[in-house]
Symmetry: C2
Subunit: 292 residues, 2 copies
Amino acid sequence: MAAYSFGWREGAEAGGKGVRQALTVLGARAAGADAGAGVPGAVAVELVHAFSLLHDDIMDGDATRRGRPALWKAYGTGPAVLAGDALFALAVGVLADVPGGVRLLSGALADVLRGQADDLLFTSRPWTGPEAVTPEEYRVMAEGKTGALLGCSLALGALLGGAPRPVVAALDRAGRHAGVAFQLADDVLGIWGRPEVTGKPVGGDLREGKRTYPVLAALAAPEGARLPGLLRRQRTAQAAALIEAAGGRDAALTEARAHMAAARTLLDGLPLEPGAAAELGALLDALADRER
Amino acid sequence: MAAYSFGWREGAEAGGKGVRQALTVLGARAAGADAGAGVPGAVAVELVHAFSLLHDDIMDGDATRRGRPALWKAYGTGPAVLAGDALFALAVGVLADVPGGVRLLSGALADVLRGQADDLLFTSRPWTGPEAVTPEEYRVMAEGKTGALLGCSLALGALLGGAPRPVVAALDRAGRHAGVAFQLADDVLGIWGRPEVTGKPVGGDLREGKRTYPVLAALAAPEGARLPGLLRRQRTAQAAALIEAAGGRDAALTEARAHMAAARTLLDGLPLEPGAAAELGALLDALADRER
C-alpha cells in the first residue's frame, strides 16, 4: 500500500511532485550545509505528507488521487487507515534522535490536523449570515492544512543544516505563507483546473460544498447572492461561471500573490546561502503558479 | 470525540482501566523515582492506546467499544480517523523533549501497527494446511498488537525514572510477555466472556474468523476437524463448544500462564524498588486473570 501511495508501482508522475522534500533539502543548503544534511527531514516530511493524503482522502470521501483510485478505494478503508498510521510512525522514528526535530514535526502535525478538522466542519456551516465561514477562518485553516507542513519542511532542513533558531522560525513562517498561496492556487484549480492536470474530478470541491476562497469571495460580492442556491442544487458549471463573474477567481489569485510576497519578504531578510535562496524563491513561485 | 473516547462524558467505567498509565508510573517508581516522574510517559501511552483503539475499531468494523457505540459509529469514519491521528500527534508531542522517549514510543508503535496488520491479514489465510497461521505467527502478532505498548509503558516509566538502559530493556520485554498473556486472556473472553463484562458482542471474534489462540489450538487437535465448517457457517455457539472440547480454551490459559511466568522471571532478576515491584507483579497477574 505504501508503494502504491508513493507511485512506485506506476510511472513517476503518479508519485507526487516531491515539493516538501525539495524544501527540506533547500532549507539545509540555505543554512550553509550540504544537501545531504537535510535528508532525514526530507524523508520524514514526505512520509507525513503521504500519511495525511491517505487519511484526508478517507475523510473527504475522495475516490481519486493523482488520476488513480485513492488508496482506500483500491485496498479498503481499514487497511488504508493502518497504512497511514504506519507511515506516520515511521516519520516520527526517522526524526526520533534529531534534537528539536520531533517537536517541529509534532507541532506542525497538530496544525495540519486542526486545519483538516476545520475544513470538514466548515461544510456544515451556513453559506451566509453571522455563522458563515470568514476569510480569516479560511486563512487559519489553509495555513494549518497546507502551510504547516511546508513550513515544517523548510524549518526541519534549516535545523538539520545547523541554522540558528530565529532563522529556523522565520523559514517556518515563510513556508506557511507559501502554503496558504499554494492552497489558494489549489482552490482555483479545483474549480477551473483541467482534470487531466489536477488528477481530480471537475467540480468536486463545489459538489462537496467546500468553503474554498473563490467561493467565500464570491459570496461577499452582490453577484454572489444566487450562489448558495446553485451549490445546493449541484449546478457546478453554473456556479463556477457565477464565482468567476463575481470576482472570486481574481480575489483568490490576488490573495495568493500577497501571501507569496510575504514569504519572499521573510526570505529576503535572512542570511541564507545565495544559491540555495535563489532556488528556494523559484520553487515557491512555481508552487503558487501551478496553472501554467 | 476525544472526551467521548476517554469516557469523560459518561461514568468512569466507560473510560478503560488505565492499565498502561499505571504500568508507566510503576516503572518510574520501580526505578527508584517518584511516581510523578512517570507522568509524561503515562499520558503518552494512554493517548497512543486511545488512538490505536479508535483506528482498530474502524479496521475491524467493531461497532461497540466498552458497551457503547464505537467512536466511528457515533461520529462517522472520517472524523474518527482524524481524532485518532490527533491523539497520536499529541502523544508524540508530549515526549518530544524526553531523550530516548520518542524512539521507544515510535518503535513500539511500529510493532503495534505490524501486529494489527497481521491480525487483519490472518483472516484471509486458510484454516488448515501449510498456509494456515501458526502459533508462532500468533505470538509475534500478539506481542506486537498488545505487548509492544505494554512493554513501552513500563520501559518509558523506567526511562523517565532514570533506570539504566539494560533495566529499561528488560522491563520492555517483561511487558511484552505480559501483553501476550493479556491477549490470550482476551481471546478466551472473546469466545466465552459475558458481554456485560467485556462490552463486546458474544461470538464476535468467531464470526469475524479471527485467528485467536483457542481456535488455532483446537484446529491442531483431531477434534478440531469440524471447526472450519462451523465457523464458515457462522455457528458460533457450536464452534465455541467444539473449541472447548478440543482443548483450545485450556491451551490458551496454559500459554498465558507461561508468558506471565516469563514476565515474572524477568522482573525478579532486576534491581527494582521492592514496593513498586510487588505492585507491578500484582498488576501483571490481574491482567492475565481477567475472568474472575
